[in-house]
Structure formats: C-alpha cells, structure tokens
Symmetry: C2
Amino acid sequence: MKKDLLKKYNISDDEFKFIEETIMEAFPHHAGPQWKFAGAFYFATVVMAMIGYGHSTPATVAGKAFCMLYAIVGIPLGLVMFQSIGERLNKVASILIKKLKTVLRFNNTDATEVNLLLATGVLSSLIITVGAAMFSQYEQWNYFDSLYYCYITLTTIGFGDFVALQSGKALQEKPGYVAMSLVFILFGLAVVAASMNLLVLRFMMLNMEDTKRDEEMFPA
Amino acid sequence: MKKDLLKKYNISDDEFKFIEETIMEAFPHHAGPQWKFAGAFYFATVVMAMIGYGHSTPATVAGKAFCMLYAIVGIPLGLVMFQSIGERLNKVASILIKKLKTVLRFNNTDATEVNLLLATGVLSSLIITVGAAMFSQYEQWNYFDSLYYCYITLTTIGFGDFVALQSGKALQEKPGYVAMSLVFILFGLAVVAASMNLLVLRFMMLNMEDTKRDEEMFPA
Ligand SMILES: [K+]
Ligand SMILES: [K+]
C-alpha cells in the first residue's frame, strides 16, 4: 500500500518520512509515543499528582470516562501516599536535627517546628535547583525557565507551557532521564507534602481540636 | 500610522480588521482580553486553586517570577481557605442531618461519618451535573464533554483541553456567566475539600494521633 501511494503521488522516500513524522506529531493520541509504556506511566503520574500538563489528554468518550474514574480513585490515594511519605520525611528530619544538636552540644536538643520548616525549606530548594539543572541540560531550556518549570510542576499547577520528556524522543530513547524526571516529581511532591504537613495540617488540626473542645464544653 | 499602512499596502478596512483580530488572537498575552480585569482574576483563581489550565501563562521573566511568588504564597492560603469552608460545610450538613433524623423520629439522631460522606457526595454530584449543564449551554460543548471539563477542573487537574470563558468574548461581554463560572470553581472546590476533609484528613489525624501515642509510650 505504501509503495502504491509513493508511486501514485510520485513521493520520494525522504518526503514520505517527513510526511509520516508530521502525521505522527499531529495525532499523538492515536499513534505516537505518548501512549507507549513510558508515556502512559508519565501521563498516569501527571493525572494522579493533579499536575495535568495537558501535553496528552484522552480524546475518546471511553478514554475520558476512564480518566475521570482513574482520577477519582487515584487522587485521594495519591494524597494519602504523598502525605504519608511527607510525614515520614519530617520524622527522619526530626531525628537528624536531634542528633546534630546533640553533637553540637545544644542544651535543648529537641527539633522544633521552626527547625523542621527550615529543613524542608532547604531540601525543597535543593531539589528545585538540582532538578532545574537537570531539565536545563536535557531540554535545552535556560536555567530560569527550568526553575519556573520545576516550581509550576511541584506546586501541581502544571500549566503545560513547559513539559519535560517531550522533545528528542526522550520517552523512548532516554530511560535514565525518564526515571530521573519521575523521581523528581514523586520525591519533590513528597517534600512539598512534608512542608504542607507542617504548615497547613497543623493549622487544621488545631482548628479541629478547638471544635472538639467547643463541642465538649457546649454539647448541642 | 494606521492610515499610512493601509495606503502603502492597499489594505481595505475589513481586511485590516481581520488582520487585527488574527494578531490579537496570536498574542493574547500582550494585548488580548486575557489580561483585562476579568481575565486576570480568572487567571489568578486558576493559579491559586492549582488548576493551571495553561490557557494563558506568563511570557516574560518578570511575569514568571511574580507567578512563582504568587503561587508560593497564594496556594497555602487557598488550601487553608478551601479547607476552612469545607469544614464549615461539613458542620452545616451535620446539623441538617441531625434535624432531618429528629423530624423522621430516628432513635439515634447523630450524623455519622457515612451520612456526611453521602451528603457531600450528593452535593458534589449536584454541582457537577448543574455546572455541566451551564457550560454545555454557554460553550456549546456536548453534555459529556462538559461533565469531563467539570471533573478535570474540580479535581484541580486542569488539562486545558477544555477551558471555559475562552470563546465568544465571554470574559468581556458575559459578566453573569463569568461570575457563575468562578462561583462554580470556588464553591465546587470547597465541596471537594469537604469530602477530602472527611476522607484524607481523618486518616491523617488518626495517623498523627498514633504517632503521638507511640512517642509518649516509647520516648526517644
Ligand atoms: K493542575
Ligand atoms: K494543569
């Protein structure tokens, strides 16, 4: 069939290759590398983490229906997972801070909330600066754009103006880079969850405890 | 200047209007309605709620820097706000359920966790079905696509394959529709927060209480 086509329209092999690539790029949802294993895994991570770059989206009714179902189940599970890892990170940080304070012969070796916030702050900055260097290297973005990409990804905003793993057949040909990108997203989100745990959850727990005390003092 | 241009290139007024519109659409970031008040408010909501459709994104270094700063401050505040509203919604639902059970002469008039989950489930379904009807009407999407848009928005995934308020000059000319879309997003997210409050936060609080008890029993 390909031969007949080439003959009929007098297309050279090089021209055919160009046409093929153009079509492949225009229909990434049907035929492209987006839905091979690495691409699909990346997509699933992007949905579960609520990043939603929009670099690939379901096109059919069945695809959309499955995506909704997957999101409704996957997101709460993802939240619990990231929060659990985040909490454990806080616990490890707390132990390390205690040891450091003991070595430095502090009078009070307790890891305070402020210490922990500082630790997660330092760790987040480290992940973002190292991540930005990696993406700047592999995606040929300037360092500031890479930094912006890392922020927009780890806040789970995911505009999609910059999306990693989309150029130079990275999904098929650079498995190491694919793995590092996924580790960046998953570990980065766990560190963000650790900060959120310290900031937002404590606030909400205090709130809940207040409510509980109010209810105990003035039962309805 | 415009006159000179028209004369020089022999462009008719109608042709000029067409060219003008084409350019306006190609550079929405610089000159388009995206950055008038309604559009900017919509953008800020989309960032703060971590939806990040990507329908408009900062193009300059200063714009990106401000967007990062805004996200870092706005998102934790947004989370606390949505969670606070969500918690109050749960409290109101709990009072209504108690009253209903009293009227229906139940023996035990307490609002259980399962009752509350059912109530937020019903409320979410209502918001999504009504919201989908509204977007289907105004955006000329079919009902299923509208439903998909509502899900992808309220889960804060925000792919950006469907974005409300982008067609037919809605941002400038339909203030009522703009207001309803924002209410849909903000109220919808508060209801989602209420469910998350019941599902995820309770789980985490139990987790934290376990940890606290462990620490009290086996102090490090
Ligand atoms: K998002
Ligand atoms: K997004």
